[in-house]
């Protein structure tokens, strides 16, 4: 039974937050505690060895809808990430969110997210998965738009949610197609029976569209950088560590089916495009959080690429590591914004030295760049290994460049931030405390590589060659950034080039999206005009012509209700008499 309780602690936090009288910071501590309890529940579920189970919810016309739990490595891994990172986020929020008035709402929304995300990853059936999946989208909308006074925040929230609703519609269609093909909503039987036919292929495609809308992959990625309008703990929790992983979780869950349906190349193509464009955009971005947002897109695409190549375990290992080091980077970014008073990395004046902030941020950045011996190195290397195995020259080239670029953009980010000698202001302990802990996890995370693989009944296939090559590539990326942003190499010719400008314009993809939205809106405007000037007039006209009743009534437009009542009574008597006469 314990597996059913995994979403419960955060649900209680949500209720507590809504009912809490005042001093809301205690809800933050409560949330952190709930994270630990959830982690314990995940552990106990794992120890108990239960395969999960299902409870009847309701039945419609012979179709049973259940609340069911699937316990396997995938669900436990994701639940563990949500609970673990959630603990730090709630604690961090206590320090970060002090200035806000509506803190109860913040914690309630955050807890709603955690609850529904846990329900997504533990789902054993597609109805429940979709139910929770949409709640994840809602909580993301509410949290991005948390500061609802800000026009930009509301616009960003709207953009994110619309993208996600588009994905949801496709996912729902995919779910129903799977039902048509396999006659059930339960996930395990569908995966077992998966076959290569048209309905499976289309369903698989729709599921991929649903997944990439949540995981911000091309072409449904444009909402993620804008989502940085939300509070930084939200960016750390939802938009890097967990929520954006929901899409990848879905792909991982359905990977056997997608592979059978022949959709792996689709995953690879989406991943490759996302890797390239996100790295380019990250290189020219100046907002501290947006660079991280692009890097999230970039790293998620690495994972998606791994899935596409069938390297599921490597992908999931990178997913785990990315959650940790990206949460670290975002929490550090929150502290940095607090100290610097700006989000523009060109204007930051922080001190580089042996202080906690500079060191832990460096650890996160180096892990992202994939340098040994940090955790990011092991998982990224595993993916690289897999790519070398394919022997596909184009893919190897793209990924090699991607390693250089990711090292370059994160080094640029870091070097610009810590370029000068600035003052050190006071930072709440709740904000400082998670940094060294997460940094330690990043430093020592590589140690569990073997354990992680054996947990999945798989083995790590590391070759020295791949490791050395990827390290050299990452160092090259770092070297380029170092030369430009620390040594002051002149790159005006490059940064002023039309290519850089094209990157800054986000490949014009956002404009394309806005144009599409305006077109839809414009058609709506035209339809309102047609509705009032054509449809209404035509129907009214035809109605007048057809209706003797109408003609009769027009004589009575006198405004005296008694007349209408009188007409009604007369009409009724006529009807009764007609009935009598006709029959």
């Amino acid at each position: 039974m314990i597996e059913y309780l995994i979403p419960a602690p955060f649900l209680l936090v949500m209720i507590a937050a809504l009912l809490w009288p005042r001093r809301s910071e205690y809800v933050g501590y409560l949330g952190a505690a709930a994270g630990l309890v959830t982690l314990a529940l995940v552990y106990l579920t794992w120890r108990s060895g239960t395969p999960g189970g299902e409870l009847e919810w309701f039945a419609v016309a012979g179709t049973m809808f259940t609340w069911s739990v699937m316990v396997d490595q995938l669900s436990l891994l994701l639940a563990g990430i949500v609970a673990g990172i959630g603990t730090f986020i709630f604690l961090y929020s206590v320090g970060y969110m002090d200035a806000s008035e509506e803190l109860r709402r913040y914690y309630a929304e955050l807890a709603l997210f955690a609850t529904s995300m846990l329900a997504v990853v533990m789902s054993a059936n597609l109805f429940q998965l979709f139910f929770a999946w949409e709640l994840v989208g809602v909580s993301s909308y509410l949290l991005i738009g948390y500061w609802h006074d800000r026009k930009t925040a509301i616009a960003a929230a709207r953009k994110a949610f619309i993208t996600i609703i588009i994905g949801d519609a496709f996912l729902l269609a995919g779910i129903f197609l799977l039902w048509k093909g396999y006659g059930t909503f339960a996930i395990a039987p569908i995966l077992e029976a998966a076959r290569a036919d048209t309905i499976t292929t289309i369903a698989g495609l729709f599921i991929i569209i649903g997944a990439i809308s949540k995981s911000a992959q091309f072409p449904l990625h444009a909402w993620l950088p804008d989502a940085m309008e939300g509070p930084t703990p939200v960016s750390a929790f939802l938009h890097s560590a967990t929520m954006v992983k929901a899409g990848l979780f879905l792909v991982a869950r359905f990977l056997p089916l997608l592979a059978i349906a022949g959709l792996s190349p689709v995953l690879i193509i989406i991943a490759v495009i996302t890797i390239i464009i996100s790295a380019c955009m990250a290189l020219v971005e100046n907002d501290i959080k947006r660079v991280l947002a692009y890097s999230t897109m970039n790293q998620l695409a690495f994972i998606l690429l791994a899935f596409g190549l069938g390297a599921t375990v490597a992908g999931l290992y990178h997913l785990l590591n990315h959650s940790v080091f990206k949460a670290l980077l975002f929490m550090a970014a929150g502290v940095i914004i607090h100290l610097a008073g700006t989000q523009d990395i060109r204007q930051m004046e922080l001190k580089l030295g042996w202080n906690v902030l500079a060191v832990t941020t460096a650890i996160g950045a180096l892990a992202l760049a994939g340098l040994p011996p940090l955790s990011g190195f092991f998982s990224k290397d595993a993916i690289f290994e897999q790519i070398l195995h394919t022997g596909n020259a184009a893919l190897i080239l793209v990924f090699s460049i991607a390693i250089i670029m990711s090292a370059a953009y994160i080094s640029r980010w870091y070097l610009l931030i810590f370029r000068r000698n600035g003052s050190v202001a006071h930072v709440h302990w709740q904000m400082r405390a998670p940094l060294p802990i997460l940094a330690a996890l990043v430093v020592f995370g590589g140690l569990i590589t073997g354990m992680f693989y054996s947990w999945w009944d798989s083995s790590a296939s590391a070759s020295l060659f791949a490791g050395v090559l990827s390290t050299i590539l990452a160092l090259a990326g770092f070297g380029i950034a170092y030369a430009i942003y620390w040594r002051g190499m002149d790159i005006n010719w490059l940064s002023r080039s039309s290519m850089a400008e094209f990157f800054r314009q986000r490949f014009l993809l956002d404009d394309l999206g806005s144009a599409l939205a305006s077109a839809v809106q414009g058609i709506g405007k035209a339809m309102v005009w047609v509705d009032t000037h054509i449809v209404d007039r035509t129907v009214v006209g035809v109605g007048h012509m057809l209706s003797a009743v109408g003609a009769l009534l027009r004589r009575f437009i006198s405004g005296h209700p008694t007349n209408y009542l009188f007409a009604f009574v007369i009409g009724f008597i006529i009807i009764i008499i007609t009935l009598r006469f006709v029959l």
Binding site: F58, R158, A169, G524, V549, F568
Partner: protein, 470 residues
Amino acid sequence: MMLSLFLIIPLLGAIAAYAVPRMSRHIALAAAMAMAAVGLLSLSLFDTGIKTLQLIEKIPWLDLGGFTVSYHLGVDGISYPMVLLTAFLAVVAVLVSRREVHTREAPYYAILLGDVAAIAGVFMAQDLVMFFVFWEAVLVLTFLLILLWGGENRKYASMKFLIFTGLGSAFLLIAIIMLAVYGKSVDLVTLAGTTLPLEAQYAFLALLVLAFFIKMPIVPFHTWLPDAHVQAPTAGSILLAGVMLKMGAYGLLRLGSLVPDAIAAASPFLFWMGVITIIYGAWVCLAQDNLKRLIAYSSVNHMGFVLVGIATGSALGITGVVFEMVSHGILAALLFALAGVVHQQTGTFDLGSLHGLIRKMPKVGWFMVVASFGALGLPSMTGFIAEFIIIFASFQEFGMFTLVPLAGMILAGGYFLRLLAKAVFGRNDRLAIGEQRVSMLPFGLLLAASFLLGLLPFLLIDIIRASVLT
């Protein structure tokens, strides 16, 4: 006697409210609450295992040359939820009227309660003459509500309402007469046992379609609705969107079941009319700048889903239809109740002028947010279950064509998020708010109902289940 109480209580209430003007609002509330209480009590009498009518009351009334017109009431799993919904919304309608209506209170409450009784009558009547009498009474009483207590442009709107729906009634009357001629009876139970010749079935269905499409309304017969809503008093809008539109869908289900072959043949037509209504309604909402018009068109959008469900003809689809009717009844009532309060406090329905509402009226603003979530079909509220079932049923009957109404769900997301971005969130120092105290009770009741049935859908599905089995 149980079902008659749904008529007697509001009618007695109406008379008492008219007779004692000083106490009319209290009498009205007492009557509505008594009706709701009867609704709760009747739950224990309703047997969810029975497929056919129950709680039957039948008294011969008029003898018209061989035709016996009887006072014949009864409910099944399709109509009973609608009766309960009517009783529930009666309480809400009276509650919201207390702050809004200050002139001619006695006739107002008398007409409101009379309207409620007539609507309940439509859902319970098993005799076609009675059905038609109740149907017409709803039309006239609602017309009076709009005409006498409506907004600035109430004359035009109420006349338009009367002409449109009156025209629908004319078709309904012809259909009823036709049925009486062919079936030799006006009793629905008797008629259910007779099969009409195919041509007669088609003719009958064509008349039903004209009559009920206007009422639901289905595009292009919908244009009376936004005008009526914008001008109607809040309670009128609540009844109109909450239960009156469902009279059309209910009529199509109930009378349509008499001509099963024609309904089956017309299924693609009904489906596409539903789809057009979904897309059209949603798309027009996307560019609406008047809050009440927007909610009115969102009703059009939702009634499109109802028609798609009816088109499937399957047990699953009809369950979805009843669920959607209840769901939309609750959520549209909530949205209109909120719009009413917003208008009282700000004097406007214009989305742009309402920008930043949530800063000035936080509670109302957040109710608006959650109500919009419910109406756009997000989980844990009723709309999600309803639309999930209908789309599910549609996929089984119409396959990939269902992708089109799914696109309507994206548009629905678009217009509700636009509504929130434009009228609720943001910062606006020019927005002035009235001093009146606003009671959150009606909103809380409606929202609680939506969450209750959204999280525990079996509460409603159990009532529907037996009657939709084929």
